[in-house]
Subunit: 190 residues, 2 copies
């Protein structure tokens, strides 16, 4: 491993509304529309109907910070996952490993209800509950995906090593071992 000194930046402050889950003046705003989720849900036809009937709505968004993507830095963003169902399956993010697989990530839930689904490459699958004020620790090596089980946006502050990077690995083809459904008001992991 070659050591590269982290880029020098000045100290800064950035304001959040911790109740509403808003980062004021984000550097970058990334939008994932429903059409980008084709292939991820069990009921693909239901997703296509949703896209057709709602004009390819926003599925989830991230609000990014001005921190270099480099070792030594600590990056942060807001993840906002909209509520809804694809058939009976709860809206979710694609999920990702880290490009440096041995790096962890912290999710501090600010608003909404949901689950963090996590899996290891060997198939081990675990999940943790999201509710406001709950911090979920995703250890090194665990792929992770947020799932919104509620009726309002699921908003988390995500914090990770600057050089962690994203790796979608086998997620689009293999998914996670468990899916999350809502039937008759009950949340089911199956």
């Amino acid at each position: 491993m070659t050591h590269v000194d982290p880029q020098t930046i000045e100290p800064f402050g950035i304001q959040f509304d911790l109740i509403d889950g808003v980062m004021c003046k984000p550097e970058k705003h990334i939008i994932r529309n429903a059409a980008e989720m084709v292939g991820y849900y069990a009921d693909d036809a239901a997703l296509r109907r949703l896209i057709a009937s709602h004009g390819n709505p926003i599925h989830y968004e991230t609000f990014e910070s001005p921190v270099p993507e480099q070792r030594g830095h600590v990056r942060f963003c807001i993840s906002k996952l909209h509520p809804g169902l694809v058939g009976e399956e709860c809206f979710m993010t694609k999920g990702h490993y880290h490009k440096l697989p041995d790096t962890a990530e912290i999710y501090l839930c600010l608003r909404g209800r949901g689950l963090m689904m996590m899996k290891l490459a060997d198939g081990n699958c675990q999940w943790q509950e999201f509710l406001p004020g709950r911090l979920v620790y995703v250890p090194p090596y665990w792929a992770h995906r947020s799932v919104n089980t509620g009726d309002e946006p699921l908003i988390s502050l995500c914090i990770y090593p600057g050089d962690a990077g994203h790796d979608y690995g086998n997620i689009q083809s293999d998914g996670f071992p468990k899916r999350v459904f809502r039937r008759n008001g009950h949340v089911l992991v199956e």
Copy 2:
């Protein structure tokens, strides 16, 4: 640099009260009493009077997380700095560099009012305001110290690379280039 795989731990969740700034069930609770601050304030006699008259009260506390102190992990803790004055100087933490000096730290202020004082080894000194919801980014190489300028505890969620470590360096002998005072209700950095 030798690469060591980070210790394997299971995913977990931990609850915070983001309004009161409380970590539920911390792994470890560390207390710094006023007597440990001898030598840090401009008016040492005032500190000794405070210790004598108040029975060496708690000055600041940290509530620690069960995350390994290793590269790849992301550690977090709550820092709680009590309000008060030593003479006219606002209560503050000792301050520290990181043992790995090229690692950053994030402070998310949950409660109270204050300043994050920061310095580089070359004497450059900057500060950022703390108020609820404000995230202060301490870049790599900057020593940092919290200062409570208000009347209630200053509470922050601190997040940093697992292997960052603490280094008090020259802080006890040299302090920071600026001190923070409260005179007639005004906060002064001088």
